[in-house]
Symmetry: C2
Subunit: 300 residues, 2 copies
């Protein structure tokens, strides 16, 4: 079954200890949709400005990603993010955020997208996430992401959105902040009481932790010897996860585990180069090769 | 086969958000030996002062731990540590460290310990660790721990010790600091070039990572809903690991994985109460029950 993603498509300028790029393809929906396209049909709803290069749109199309819902605003500029990573490749310093068209982003879901069964709401304003849900016709499974900014500034709106979603996919620190609870197991339980039946907690190089009811699944991260640029790893993870789950038409937490594995493996490709440069070239045998290694990592 | 541990036996005063204790049994060798005693015979070499309660010695003896090598210095005081943990139960603030007898600790290995096949050098001065190795007769397997203090102040001595050990069991941050390398896989490779064929990297709630040759093993942590006091978790882990490995007379990295699992599970008991209060009461069925849950955590 296919996936609908609503999120950002951006132009990123990124500096790491290993290099520097300007105005490259970024944004949650870009990473998500390229990752998910390895498993299923993907339909994107996002907004860009008149400065957005056609090449990037062609790239998405070349992956069979449906960009009917990618609105190009004639009088606007694309969302831009500038960041710099230190030697430890931890959280980057944000040097600039220019919301541009994102400031007034009010997604209109095309009629032909309204019956899509799998919906992913990338990290955008929780009120906008809710507006998306109001436009779609009872999807089988809704997952969403969020970030500390919304937890701190739109908590009530976020809690309203959470009542309507099945899976929340967020970072470790966001999990604790949203729950107001330092211990991850307790934080997870509190968040599941807010609505989501499943919580996927992304922990970067420490892997991922998934809570579904009473079940806990602890996934490794794929060990790399070189990390070039961590940007987009989390969105790639979400794309691999949702792509796999939707591609299999699954609603079963047991299948979600394999989704976590695919998400982790795909994120390991993303961080090996700037932008989607490595991710866009992942072939089925690359993916299956790393998945096999990944599954061995935690075998006793 | 039995295990020899050389380390500290201490009196700890600990405060956490959940309570406070004074002068309770602590020290690396205490946690290690109680954990290892669940699997095999343990022989301790350590020093305490004239203030050390006989009850603690009786406790160790009740676990069949051989304390012939636990020297009680008539004119000295026991090593004391005072620490306070914040709400996140992360790294504690050290409020006081009184080395006392540890300051001049010069371990003499009793003759009857010199042929013990499995040796664990807990976190003490690397020169003292080397003196221990000079006294024993070619053990089958030597593991050791260390800490940032020795990495920063006795790096050359530590590197000398590392040439003579098989397994290094240290924290995540110590791994990166010792290697001078932020990426854990590269840090591990550099450390293995210093001597140890196996590196076990303890990551607290994120689990443990073991490197042996080209093999990487990623273990979860046992998810708890209450953590009372994290003190001693790492030493308990090492005790469970070495106890299991020695108890099975193993030299095989495949068996080390199960050692990591037992170490992780035992550490989960230690943090549920102050001092060794929970650990000392772990029964075989408690252990096997949690191990079964633990093994399920990362199953796909």
């Amino acid at each position: 079954m296919s996936v609908l993603v609503v999120g950002s498509v951006a132009l990123d300028s990124v500096e790491t200890p290993f290099g520097k790029v300007e105005n490259v393809l970024g944004g949650s929906a870009s990473y998500f949709s390229i990752a998910a396209s390895l498993f299923t049909d993907v339909h994107v709803v996002a907004a860009v400005g008149n400065d957005f290069p056609d090449d990037h749109i062609e790239l998405l199309k070349s992956k069979n990603i449906d960009v009917t819902g990618l609105e190009k605003e004639k009088n606007g500029q694309t969302f831009r993010w500038e960041g710099k990573y230190g030697y430890d490749l931890g959280d980057p310093d944000t040097l600039g955020t220019h919301l541009n068209v994102l400031e007034t982003f009010d997604p209109v879901i095309p009629d032909e997208y309204k019956d899509i069964d799998y919906v992913f709401l990338a990290n955008i304003d929780p009120e906008v996430q809710m507006k998306v849900l109001d436009q779609v016709n009872s999807p089988k499974l809704v997952a969403c992401d969020t970030m500390n900014f919304w937890i701190e500034n739109k908590l009530e709106e976020l809690k309203e959105t959470l009542k309507h979603i099945d899976i929340l996919i967020i970072n470790d620190s966001e999990t604790r902040e949203l729950a107001g609870e330092p211990l991850i197991t307790n934080a997870a339980r509190k968040i599941m009481e807010m609505g989501p039946k499943t919580l996927v907690c992304k922990r970067g190089e420490y892997g991922a932790l998934m809570f579904s009811g009473d079940d806990i699944f602890f996934a490794p991260s794929y060990p790399l010897e070189e990390i070039f640029d961590p940007t987009g790893a989390g969105d790639t993870f979400a794309g691999g996860f949702m792509g796999y789950v939707a591609g299999n038409g699954s609603m079963n937490p047991e299948d979600f585990k394999k989704g976590v594995a695919y998400g982790s493996v795909l994120a390991s490709f993303t961080v090996e180069d700037f932008s989607v440069n490595r991710l866009r070239n992942v072939k089925q045998n690359d993916l299956e090769g790393r998945l096999a290694d990944f599954l061995k990592l935690s075998k006793i």
